[in-house]
C-alpha cells in the first residue's frame, strides 16, 4: 500500500477531495468542447447501409481521411435496415455490452439504448455553436433527460414532403406546384403558398382520382404512413398524449381530422392499407400516381426506371392545416456506446463528419436525399442543381413556414416511441375509414391503447 508523502497538515481532507472532484466534474460538463487530437488506435462503426448506390463510399472516404490524419484505423460495417437488421444488431450489442464503438440509430433507438450511450453534450454544443439551432425533432429523439445521447447525422435522415406530378396537377387540378413553390425561396409568394392547404389538397385529390390518377397515401403501420398522418394530425391540432401524461385524443380536433381523412382516403387506391414504405414509391414510379408524401427516393428511382415520370416530379412543402404546416421528419443519429474502448477518438470522428463540408459531400452523394438537422445547412447547392427538372428537390428541406413534426410529441419520448411504433394513428384512421367503425368507438379504442403506452 502506498503511503502519502505529504505532511498531515497539508494532506487534503475527504471533504476537500470531494469538493474538488465535484468542481472538476462541473467544469468538464460546462466547458466548451476542446478538440484533443490524440485519437490513435482503432475505431469500429456499425452504420446504416445507404440505399443510394455509392453513398456509402463517400462516408467511407470521409472516415478514412480522418483516420489517416489522426493515425487511427477505422473499420466500417454497413448494416441494412431491411428486416430491422440494424436495430437488431444495436439491441444485441447493447445487451451484450460489446460491439462497435459508434453505432447508427434510426428514429427512437437513441432513447431505447440511452443507458448504454455516452453523453455527447460537448459535441452537440460545439455543433450548435458552429451551425445554429438544431431540429426540434432531433432534440426530442436524442436529448434524453437533458443529455444528448446521440449526434444527428445527415446520412439517411429525411423528411416526407409532397412529391407531385407537375403535369397531372396542371392538367386535372389546375394547380401549378412549380409556380407556388419555385426553386428559389426568395421568390415564394406567401399568398400563393397559403393556398396550398389540406382543403386544396382534398379537392385536387378528388379531381385527380376522377381523372384516373389518384394520390397514393399509405395507411399501413410503417413509417411512411405514420409520418404523413402524424403531420396531418399536427396540422389539425390533434394531440394524443401531452407532456404531462394526459391522454388528449378525445377532442374536437381529432374528430375533425378523422372526418377529413374519411373523405381523403375515399379517393386513394384501396390497396394503400397494405402498402409498406415502398408502396407509395412504386405508385408514383408506375405513372399511375399523381402525388405521394416521401423523400426524393421515389423520384431518384423514377429517374432510372421511368425518366418521363421523374422529369415531371416536383418535391414541395406539405399542405397547411388550421394549426400550421407540418412535415414528418425521421432523423438518424450516431451514438457512442458507453462500452466503447476509444471514446475520445469516436467523438473526434463524429465531429469531423458533422462539419458542413463533410455534410455537403454526403448530401451530394445521395442526390439530396440525406438531410442535415441544422437549418443553416439547407443552402447546399445539391438541392438547387439536382435534375430533372432543375430544382425538383429544392423544396425537400423544410422551407418557409413548414415545421418538422414527429408523431408522439409532446408526450415523453418513451411514450412517444410506443405511439409511433404501434402506429396508433394509422390504425385509428384505418378502423374508421376502412373498417367503418364508429368514430366514438375508434377514439375509445385509441384511448385504451394510449393508456397502455403510459405503463412505467
Amino acid at each position: 500500500m502506498t503511503q502519502s508523502r505529504l505532511p498531515a497538515s497539508k494532506r487534503p481532507t475527504r471533504r476537500q477531495v470531494l469538493k474538488s472532484a465535484a468542481l472538476g466534474s462541473a467544469a468538464a460538463v460546462a466547458a466548451p468542447y476542446v478538440s484533443g487530437v490524440y485519437a490513435a488506435g482503432s475505431l469500429s462503426l456499425g452504420v446504416w447501409d445507404h440505399w443510394v448506390p455509392g453513398a456509402n463510399n463517400t462516408l467511407t472516404k470521409l472516415c478514412n481521411e480522418w483516420g489517416a490524419k489522426n493515425n487511427c484505423e477505422v473499420k466500417i460495417d454497413y448494416i441494412t435496415s431491411q428486416g430491422e437488421k440494424d436495430k437488431l444488431t444495436a439491441a444485441a450489442e447493447a445487451q451484450a455490452g460489446t460491439g462497435h464503438d459508434i453505432m447508427s440509430h434510426r428514429d427512437w433507438n437513441i432513447r431505447i439504448h440511452q443507458n448504454v450511450l455516452e453523453p455527447l453534450d460537448d459535441l452537440i454544443a460545439k455543433l450548435i455553436q458552429q451551425y445554429g439551432p438544431i431540429s426540434p425533432v432531433a432534440e426530442y429523439l436524442a436529448k434524453i433527460k437533458g443529455t444528448w445521447r446521440g449526434v444527428p447525422t445527415a446520412v439517411g435522415s429525411q423528411v416526407k414532403p409532397c412529391c407531385s406530378r407537375i403535369d397531372l396537377y396542371k392538367q386535372h387540378a389546375g394547380i401549378d406546384v412549380t409556380e407556388i413553390f419555385p426553386a428559389d425561396e426568395s421568390k415564394w409568394d406567401q399568398a400563393k403558398v397559403d393556398t396550398w392547404n389540406w382543403d386544396t389538397y382534398l379537392t385536387a385529390a378528388q379531381k385527380l382520382h376522377k381523372a384516373g390518377y389518384p394520390v397514393g397515401l399509405p395507411m399501413g403501420q410503417t413509417s411512411d404512413a405514420v409520418d404523413w398522418v402524424g403531420a396531418l394530425f399536427n396540422a389539425f391540432g390533434v394531440v394524443m398524449v401531452d407532456a404531462k401524461d394526459n391522454i388528449k385524443i378525445n377532442s374536437d380536433e381529432t374528430r375533425t381530422a378523422l372526418e377529413y381523412l374519411k373523405k381523403l382516403m375515399a379517393v386513394n387506391p384501396p390497396e394503400v392499407y397494405a402498402w409498406d414504405d415502398a408502396g407509395n414509391n412504386r405508385w408514383l414510379i408506375s405513372g399511375k400516381g399523381s402525388n405521394i408524401m416521401n423523400p426524393p427516393s421515389a423520384w431518384a428511382v423514377a429517374k432510372r426506371d421511368n425518366p418521363q415520370v421523374a422529369a415531371n416530379c416536383w418535391t414541395h412543402p406539405m399542405p397547411k392545416g388550421p394549426k400550421g404546416r407540418f412535415v414528418g421528419q425521421l432523423p438518424q443519429f450516431y451514438g457512442v456506446w458507453s462500452f466503447s474502448k476509444n471514446k475520445p477518438a469516436a467523438k473526434e470522428l463524429l465531429l469531423y463528419i458533422s462539419q458542413k463540408e463533410s455534410i455537403a459531400q454526403l448530401v451530394q452523394a445521395s442526390y439530396g436525399y440525406d438531410l442535415p438537422s441544422f437549418k443553416s445547412m439547407y443552402d447546399l447547392d445539391t438541392w438547387k442543381t439536382v435534375e430533372p427538372p432543375v430544382g425538383t428537390v429544392y423544396g425537400y428541406p423544410p422551407r418557409g413556414d413548414e415545421q418538422t413534426s414527429m408523431l408522439g410529441f409532446p408526450a415523453r419520448s418513451d411514450v412517444g416511441a410506443q405511439i409511433y411504433n404501434q402506429a396508433i394513428n394509422t390504425v385509428m384512421v384505418a378502423k374508421f375509414t376502412q373498417g367503418n367503425e364508429k368514430l366514438d368507438d375508434v377514439i375509445k379504442w385509441a384511448e385504451g391503447e394510449l393508456e397502455g403506452t403510459l405503463r412505467a
Binding site: G220, Q221, A274, S286, D414, N421
Partner: protein, 320 residues
C-alpha cells in the same frame, strides 16, 4: 528398469509399487467407465448438450428473467408484464389470430399431407421418387425467400394473381389490404410451405404398414375406406400425433411469413405472437414486454405437448 528398482531403498520401492498399482487401477477404472455404453453416449452427446444449453436453455431462461423486468429493465416487477398484456384488447386479438393461424394451417397441412401421401404411395415405384422430390420443393426453399415470392404474387398494387383474375374478367381481390383476405393469404403460404413435411412423414408411416394386413382385410371383403379407417389410421395415429405436435409448435412460433407479407397489418389483424413480440420488443424498445408476449406461447404449447405425448405413450404401451 528392473536394475533401477533393485537399487532403491525398500520404503521407496513400496511407494513406487503403490503408485504403479494406483495408476493401473485408475486406468482400469477409466476403461470400465468408458466401457459403459451410456457413458460413451453421454460424452459423445456432450458437445450437442453444451450447444443446446448455450443457444436454447440460456436464452429461454434469460427471456423469462427479462419478462419480469420493468420497461427500462431496472426493476423486478414479477408477473406485471403478463398482467398488463392480459388487460390489452390488441393482445387478445393476437391470441385469437395466433390460434386461428396455427390451428387452421396445421389442419390443412395435415389433410393435404395425408391425401398426397396416399396418392404418391399408390403410384408405381418408378414414378414415386420424381413426385416425392417435386412435392418437397416448397419445404426446401428458404422460407424468407419463398415468402417474398408469395408477397410479389399477392402484391397490393401489382398482384400477379389479380392480373390472371382480371384477364378472365373477374374483379381483383384485395389479398393483403383486406384484413380477412390477408389472414387467408398468410395461412395459405404457411400451408404451402408446411404440407410437404406432413407428406414425407405420412409417406414413411404408410410404407411401414404391413401389406399382409391389407391382404387379410381384402379377403374379409373390406373396401378402401374400411381399410383406411381400420388399418391405416390406427397404424399411423402415433406419427400423426407427433407431426401435428411438432407442426403446431413451429406454426405457433411462425414469424417470417407474417412479417414479410403483412407485418401484422392491416389494423393489427394478422399479428401472431412472434410478430407482435418483435413489434413490442425490438421496434418499440420494450424488451421485457416483448419477452412476455413470446412466452405466452409456452404454456399453450406445453399443454398441447402433454396431451399429445400422453396419447402417444398410451398407444405405445397398448402396442407393446
Amino acid at each position: 528398469m528392473a536394475d533401477t528398482v533393485h537399487t532403491l531403498s525398500p520404503p521407496l520401492q513400496r511407494n513406487r509399487l503403490q503408485g504403479a498399482l494406483a495408476a493401473s487401477s485408475t486406468v482400469r477404472g477409466l476403461h470400465q467407465v468408458l466401457r459403459r455404453r451410456s457413458t460413451v453416449a453421454f460424452l459423445m452427446c456432450l458437445p450437442l448438450i453444451l450447444i443446446i444449453a448455450s443457444l436454447v436453455v440460456y436464452p429461454a431462461l434469460y427471456s423469462i428473467y427479462l419478462s419480469m423486468l420493468n420497461k427500462a429493465q431496472t426493476r423486478f416487477i414479477g408477473l406485471g408484464n403478463f398482467r398488463f398484456l392480459l388487460s390489452r384488447d390488441v393482445f387478445w386479438m393476437v391470441v385469437q389470430q395466433s390460434a386461428i393461424f396455427a390451428l387452421t394451417a396445421v389442419f390443412f397441412k395435415a389433410l393435404i399431407g395425408l391425401i398426397t401421401a396416399h396418392l404418391i404411395n399408390n403410384l408405381p415405384a418408378k414414378g414415386q421418387r420424381k413426385w416425392r422430390g417435386m412435392l418437397l420443393v416448397p419445404w426446401v426453399i428458404p422460407l424468407a425467400l419463398s415468402s417474398l415470392s408469395w408477397w410479389w404474387l399477392f402484391d397490393p398494387t401489382h398482384s400477379a394473381f389479380n392480373y390472371i383474375l382480371a384477364s378472365f374478367g373477374h374483379d381483383e381481390i384485395a389479398w393483403l389490404s383486406n384484413p380477412y383476405w390477408a389472414r387467408f393469404s398468410v395461412i395459405l403460404v404457411n400451408v404451402w410451405y408446411g404440407a410437404p413435411f406432413f407428406l414425407i412423414m405420412y409417406l414413411a408411416a404408410l410404407k411401414s404398414v404391413p401389406e399382409q394386413l391389407y391382404e387379410a382385410a381384402s379377403i374379409d371383403g373390406a373396401n378402401a375406406w374400411q381399410k383406411f379407417r381400420h388399418i391405416t389410421l390406427p397404424m399411423m395415429r402415433n406419427i400423426i400425433a407427433i407431426t401435428v405436435l411438432f407442426s403446431l409448435i413451429v406454426t405457433f412460433a411462425n414469424f417470417d411469413i407474417v412479417q414479410i407479407m403483412t407485418a401484422g397489418g392491416p389494423r393489427n389483424m394478422t399479428h401472431v405472437f412472434a410478430t407482435y413480440a418483435f413489434l413490442l420488443g425490438i421496434r418499440s424498445g420494450d424488451l421485457p414486454l416483448g419477452a412476455a408476449t413470446s412466452l405466452f406461447m409456452f404454456p399453450i404449447l406445453a399443454v398441447a405437448a402433454i396431451f399429445i405425448l400422453r396419447g402417444v405413450r398410451k398407444r405405445g404401451r397398448e402396442i407393446g
